[in-house]
C-alpha cells in the first residue's frame, strides 16, 4: 500500500538524524576512550590505559559498586511503594481509579529539579524535617545524616522514580482480564493464592519494565548526589561529569561512559529476553 517513495521520505530524515547525532557521537565517544590526555591536551595515542585504570583503581570500582547499590535500593523501594499502590488502584479503587491515576501522574510532570530541591530543603540540619522533629520534641538536636548522605540520595531518587515504576506496572495489572481472576476464584483459589499464582506472574512484564527504567536512570544520575548527596555519595556519573569539567580528562570520562553504555545495553538485552519469556501472548 505504501510506495517506495513514501517509505524513503519517511525513513530518510530520521535515519539521517539518528546517524549524525546519535551514531557518530557514540562512535566519537568510543574513539575518545582509547586516547589519552597529555600536558593538558588530548593526544591521539591509541591504547587501553583508560580501561585498565577503571578496573585497577579501587576508587573507581568502589564508586561503581556504591552506585549499583544505590540503584538497587532505589529500584527496590520504588517497587515496594509502587506495586501495592498499583494493585490497590487496579483492583480495589473502583470508580475513583481514574482520579487516583491522575494524582499519581502529577508528580511525574513536576520538574526533577523542583522535587530534588524540595528534599534538600526538608532534609537539612536546619531543614523542615529536623525543625518538625524538634518541634514535637522527638529530638533535641538536628539529625545530620538526613542530608548529604547516600540515604538522602536514595530517598530523593525513590521519590522521583516511584511514579515511573508505577506506570507500566499499573498498565500490566489493568491488562489482566477480570474473568481470569474470576476463573481462579471459581476453581477454589482465595485472594492470596490468586495473587501469587495469577496476578503476580502476569504483572511481571510491567514490573520488569519499570524496574529496568528506575535502575538504569539511577545508575547514570549525577544531579542527585550534587543536590543532596555530599562527598560520601559520589556516584559514577559524578566522576564522568568532573572528568568533563574541572578534572579535564575526556578520554577517561569517555571510557567510563562507554562502560556505562555497555552495561546499559547488556541489561536491556537481558531484560528484553526475560520480557519475551514472560509476556504470554
Amino acid at each position: 500500500m505504501y510506495s517506495r517513495a513514501y517509505k524513503w521520505i519517511v525513513s530518510a530524515p530520521p535515519l539521517l538524524w539518528v546517524t549524525i547525532f546519535l551514531l557518530i557521537p557514540y562512535m566519537l565517544m568510543l574513539v575518545h576512550s582509547f586516547w589519552q590526555v597529555r600536558d593538558g591536551v588530548i593526544a591521539h595515542d591509541w591504547n587501553l590505559q583508560n580501561y585498565a585504570k577503571l578496573f585497577q583503581n579501587p576508587v573507581y570500582l568502589e564508586v561503581l559498586f556504591r552506585t549499583m547499590r544505590i540503584a538497587a535500593g532505589v529500584t527496590l523501594l520504588s517497587l515496594l511503594l509502587g506495586y501495592p499502590l498499583a494493585y490497590y488502584m487496579s483492583f480495589h479503587a473502583g470508580v475513583r481509579k481514574d482520579l487516583l491515576y491522575q494524582l499519581v501522574i502529577v508528580p511525574l510532570w513536576v520538574s526533577y529539579l523542583v522535587r530534588g530541591y524540595a528534599w534538600k530543603t526538608i532534609l537539612g540540619s536546619e531543614g523542615v524535617l529536623n525543625g518538625f522533629l524538634q518541634y514535637i520534641h522527638v529530638t533535641r538536636e538536628p539529625v545530620s545524616f538526613f542530608l548529604y548522605s547516600p540515604f538522602a540520595v536514595v530517598l530523593m531518587l525513590t521519590h522521583i522514580y516511584t511514579p515511573f515504576v508505577f506506570l507500566p506496572l499499573y498498565a500490566s495489572l489493568e491488562h489482566i482480564p477480570r474473568n481470569i481472576i474470576e476463573a481462579s476464584h471459581d476453581l477454589g483459589a482465595g485472594s492470596r493464592a490468586t495473587f501469587f499464582r495469577v496476578i503476580l506472574p502476569l504483572s511481571l512484564p510491567g514490573l520488569l519494565a519499570g524496574a529496568t527504567f528506575a535502575f538504569l536512570l539511577t545508575l547514570g544520575d549525577f544531579l542527585a548526589p550534587l543536590l543532596v548527596g555530599g562527598p560520601s555519595s559520589i556516584m559514577i556519573a559524578n566522576i564522568v561529569q568532573s572528568l568533563f569539567g574541572t578534572a579535564y580528562d575526556w578520554p577517561l570520562g569517555a571510557a567510563i561512559s562507554v562502560s556505562i553504555l555497555l552495561l546499559t545495553i547488556s541489561l536491556l538485552f537481558f531484560t528484553e529476553r526475560l520480557e519475551k519469556r514472560w509476556s504470554f501472548r
Partner: protein, 360 residues
C-alpha cells in the same frame, strides 16, 4: 399432535423436586436502579441438563454469575444440597464455571491450567498428574498438555476450559454460552460431545445460551427467561408443543398467533372456526407453521379446520417449502414438504388440537 408421555413430564418434575440439587428461592438482582432479575424461583435436579434460554438482557448470564458467586443477590436465597449457598465466596462453592471466553491462564500450560483447581485444594500432589491425564483424555486434548493456550484454536481452548472445570468434580457445572464463539459445524459437533459427556459423567449442567436450537438439542429442561422473569420451565418437547405464552411460542420455533373470540365452545378468528374448551371471551392461540397442511398433498381428516388461502410467497429450503398465506387480509405462515411451485389459491387445513391456547 399431542406430545406423548404427559405423565413422563410429571415424572421428571417429581424427580427434580425430590433430588433438587440447587434451589433458587425468590431471587432478585438489581444493578443500581436497573432490575435485572425479578423474583426468580427455580429448582435444578441432580444429574439434570438445564438450559437458561433468553435474549441478551434477559438476565440469564446474571443468574449464572449469582450461582457461581461473582455477584450477590439483591434479595432471595440460593441453596445447594440443603445448605445455604449465596453466603459462600466463589472459591468455597462446589460449583465450577466454563467461561464464555474460556478465561484460560495465559501464563500456564494446558496441563497446569487443568491442574489449577487441584493445586489450590488439599488434593495430594502425587494424585494430580494422574487426574490431569484423565481429564485431558476425556476432552481429547492429551497431546496438547505442554502447549500454551495462545497456541490453541477456539475449539481446543474450550475443551481445556471444560477439563479444567470438571476435574474438580463439582456438584454443578455452569456453562456460559461456551459454544457461541465457534463456527457452525464445530458448534454442532461440540453440542453432541457435551451432551454425551454429561450423560456419561452424570454431573448437573446449567447451560446458558440465546440459541433456541441449541437449547432444544441439549436440554432435559429449558428455563426461558424474559426481561428478568421466568417465562416457562419445561422439557423441550413440552415447551415446543405447549408454549405457555405468546413470547414463548414466538421465541422457540416459529408460530402463527391467532386472536380469536370464544363463544359457546367455538373459537372464531376471521373466517376460521374450531372447537375450543377455553372460557368465553378473547383468547390467543399459537399455531405452528408445520401444523398447516396442503389438502392436495395430505387429505384432511374428518374434523379438520379447512380454509382456502392465496399463496403470497414461497421459499424453497431443501426439504420444505415456507409459504406465506393470505387469508382475507390475514397472513399465515405454513411449512409443508417440498413439492414444487404453487400458484394462487389452494385449500389448507389444520387440526383444532394444534391450535394451542397461550397467555399474552
Amino acid at each position: 399432535m399431542t406430545p406423548p408421555g404427559h405423565s413422563a413430564e410429571q415424572a421428571i418434575a417429581g424427580a427434580v423436586a425430590e433430588s433438587a440439587l440447587l434451589e433458587v428461592r425468590d431471587v432478585s438482582k438489581s444493578f443500581g436502579t436497573r432490575e435485572v432479575l425479578k423474583h426468580i424461583s427455580l429448582e435444578i435436579g441432580a444429574g439434570e441438563f438445564l438450559t437458561l434460554l433468553g435474549e441478551s438482557g434477559s438476565g440469564k448470564t446474571t443468574l449464572l454469575r449469582l450461582i457461581a458467586g461473582f455477584e450477590q443477590p439483591s434479595s432471595g436465597e440460593l441453596w445447594m444440597s440443603g445448605e445455604r449457598l449465596d453466603t459462600l465466596p466463589p472459591y468455597k462453592r462446589r460449583v465450577n464455571t466454563v467461561f464464555q471466553s474460556y478465561a484460560l491462564f495465559p501464563h500456564l500450560t494446558v496441563q497446569e491450567n487443568v491442574a489449577y483447581g487441584l493445586e489450590v485444594s488439599s488434593v495430594a500432589k502425587s494424585e494430580i498428574p494422574g487426574r490431569v491425564n484423565e481429564a485431558l483424555q476425556m476432552v481429547k486434548m492429551r497431546e496438547f498438555a505442554a502447549s500454551r493456550p495462545a497456541k490453541l484454536s477456539g475449539g481446543q481452548q474450550q475443551r481445556v476450559a471444560l477439563a479444567r472445570a470438571l476435574i474438580n468434580h463439582p456438584k454443578l457445572l455452569l456453562l456460559d454460552e461456551p459454544l457461541s464463539a465457534l463456527d457452525a459445524n464445530l458448534r454442532k459437533q461440540m453440542q453432541g460431545e457435551l451432551k454425551s459427556l454429561q450423560r456419561e459423567i452424570g454431573i448437573t449442567f446449567l447451560f446458558v445460551t440465546h440459541d433456541q436450537d441449541e437449547a432444544m438439542a441439549l436440554s432435559d429442561r429449558i428455563a426461558l427467561l424474559k426481561d428478568g422473569g421466568l417465562e416457562q420451565v419445561a422439557s423441550p418437547r413440552e415447551i415446543y408443543a405447549r408454549p405457555a405464552t405468546s413470547y414463548t411460542a414466538e421465541f422457540i420455533g416459529q408460530t402463527n398467533l391467532l386472536r380469536a373470540n370464544i363463544k359457546d365452545g367455538v373459537a372464531t378468528c376471521g373466517s376460521l372456526q374450531w372447537p375450543s374448551t377455553q372460557p368465553a371471551g378473547a383468547a390467543l392461540f399459537s399455531l405452528r407453521p408445520e401444523s398447516i397442511h396442503l389438502s392436495a398433498d395430505v387429505p384432511p381428516p374428518s374434523g379438520a379446520v379447512r380454509f382456502r388461502a392465496v399463496v403470497r410467497q414461497q421459499i424453497f429450503s431443501g426439504s420444505s417449502e415456507h409459504l406465506e398465506l393470505d387469508l382475507a387480509g390475514h397472513s399465515l405462515r405454513a411449512r409443508i414438504s417440498a413439492r414444487g411451485p404453487l400458484t394462487d389459491e389452494h385449500e389448507f387445513w389444520f387440526s383444532a388440537a394444534d391450535a394451542v391456547p397461550v397467555r399474552e
